[in-house]
């Protein structure tokens, strides 16, 4: 675990020392701000505070997933592209520690970006009433969704040979997991149950928006994170038998 934390610290440093991390953070905060002003606050005067907050989390969930794809695309694909993956895998570090270290670094950076948006819900206090519970639930949902999206991105980065391909692959997997919600409506049992259980956003995120925390939703995001990281480790290990 110490090796994983060492890798995480080094990777987090690379986000903070280079422009890439700041560009992604600035882009996410800019888009979040525009969506907040244009849609969450909107022109509608008689909007409840809870609706504004719910809309904020609705839009932030999209930007969080996109940020997760951009943050994770470089994790392993960049190492492979620059030829440093061999150095990393031949060092006395387990494959799962490499994956965990890289994942934790991007999760920490994503958490920083997500928490940097906290001033937007705080603005509600000027003309409305802020429910701290709903804010906490919404941010918990964003972090869990971001964690799942980052883990999927890490898997995409482990599979791809270049960063662009990693982003495309991760984006495709994320979109697939989101639109599977629509497939549930047109398929029969037991497949529709499987599709419903797999849907990344449609079933599991809206309760967080409304301030409701369900054990099933928390477990779902943790399981997606676990499985994607497990699969990424298996992909990295595959060099031994491929």
């Amino acid at each position: 675990m110490r090796a994983a934390l060492l890798i995480a610290r080094r990777e987090l440093g690379s986000y903070l020392r280079t422009m890439n991390g700041y560009i992604i953070a600035a882009a996410v905060l800019l888009v979040d701000g525009i969506l907040w002003n244009a849609f969450a606050l909107g022109a509608q005067q008689d909007k409840h505070s809870a609706e504004v907050l719910s809309d904020f989390f609705y839009f932030s969930s999209g930007t969080t997933m996109i940020a997760a794809v951009f943050l994770s695309m470089r994790l392993l694909a960049e190492e492979r592209q620059t030829g440093t993956l061999v150095l990393l895998t031949s060092s006395p570090v387990r494959d799962r520690e490499i994956i965990l270290g890289k994942f934790f670094s991007s999760l920490a950076f994503l958490a920083m970006i997500t928490l940097a948006t906290a001033f937007m819900p705080a603005l509600i206090m000027i003309n409305g009433k802020l429910s701290i519970g709903q804010v906490a639930a919404g941010y918990l949902g964003l972090l869990l969704l971001g964690s799942a999206a980052l883990a999927i991105g890490t898997l995409g980065s482990a599979l791809a040979r270049s960063q662009v391909l990693a982003a495309i692959l991760s984006g495709a997997m994320l979109v697939g997991l989101i639109v599977v919600w629509l497939l549930a409506g047109v398929s029969e049992r037991p497949l529709n149950d499987v599709f419903l259980a797999l849907a990344l956003w449609g079933r599991h995120f809206p309760p967080f928006q409304a301030g409701v925390i369900n054990l099933r939703d928390v477990a779902y995001y943790l399981l997606v994170t676990y499985f994607a990281l497990f699969a990424a480790t298996r992909v990295l290990e595959a060099r031994r038998w491929q």
């Binding site: 809870a50 639930a137 497949l191 301030g211 409701v212 099933r216 477990a219 031994r240 038998w241």
Partner: protein, 221 residues
């Protein structure tokens, strides 16, 4: 190296035919034909793999045996599926979920798990073998690592679905939003319905309250 991917391809085609026959087509002659051909393909693939590895080196034979065991897992999964399907109902007289509902429930979970544990490792073993297509000697440790990787992934999928199912069934809910309109419970509704006098309700809210505005907007009164 004398281990070929064709039996695995026949095995996969057989499973696909069974899926189409059982799930995509309506019950009828076409569905039955596809299912029977699919089962024959699965059994044929196992026989082909077993017979093909008889006069080969020890390494190839152990790999073929490993694949044979995985095909066997798939075939066992199919047997369990058929036992709990319409075919089983025709064979035993009554549907299994009516005769033994707990067993039917267990089989509904067991057969997809076995199918996954029998199919995913085959895919990874074949990928590993494809990587050694031109190697003079088969490295059985690489094949074994691929098989274990596939098996581990299959078990991880089963674990994830199991935990997701249990947490969905035993869900705990915490509502942290202050903004929510309280709803009367069943007992309260029954009590009010049994009253023969009109009920007067007094609600006290501070001015410009979200809950009050929502209540006024949605209340039928």
């Amino acid at each position: 190296m004398a281990i070929r991917p064709w039996p695995s391809l026949v095995y996969a085609t057989g499973l696909l035919l069974i899926y189409v026959g059982e799930r995509l087509l309506a019950a009828g002659q076409a569905s039955a034909v596809l299912t029977v051909v699919g089962v024959a393909a699965v059994l044929g693939a196992a026989a082909w793999r077993g017979l093909g590895a008889r006069k080969t080196s020890a390494g190839v034979r152990s790999t073929a045996r490993m694949l044979l065991v995985l095909y066997g897992l798939g075939a066992l999964a199919l047997m369990l599926h058929f036992a709990s399907s319409d075919f089983g109902a025709r064979l035993f007289g009554r549907p299994l979920d009516l005769r033994m509902p707990r067993l039917a429930g267990a089989l509904a979970v067991l057969w997809p798990s076995l199918m996954l544990a029998g199919t995913l490792p085959v895919l990874l073993v074949e990928l590993s073998l494809a990587g050694m297509a031109h190697a003079p000697v088969l490295d059985s440790r690489r094949v074994r690592a691929a098989m274990l990787s596939g098996l581990g992934t299959a078990l991880a999928i089963v674990f994830c679905f199991s935990v997701a199912y249990v947490t969905a069934e035993r869900n705990l809910k915490v509502d942290l939003a202050y903004f929510r309109s309280a709803r009367a419970g069943t007992a309260t509704k029954k009590l009010v319905a049994a009253l023969d006098q009109p009920v007067q309700v007094y609600l006290f809210y501070p001015p410009a309250n979200d809950v009050a505005r929502n209540w006024l907007a949605t209340s039928p009164i």
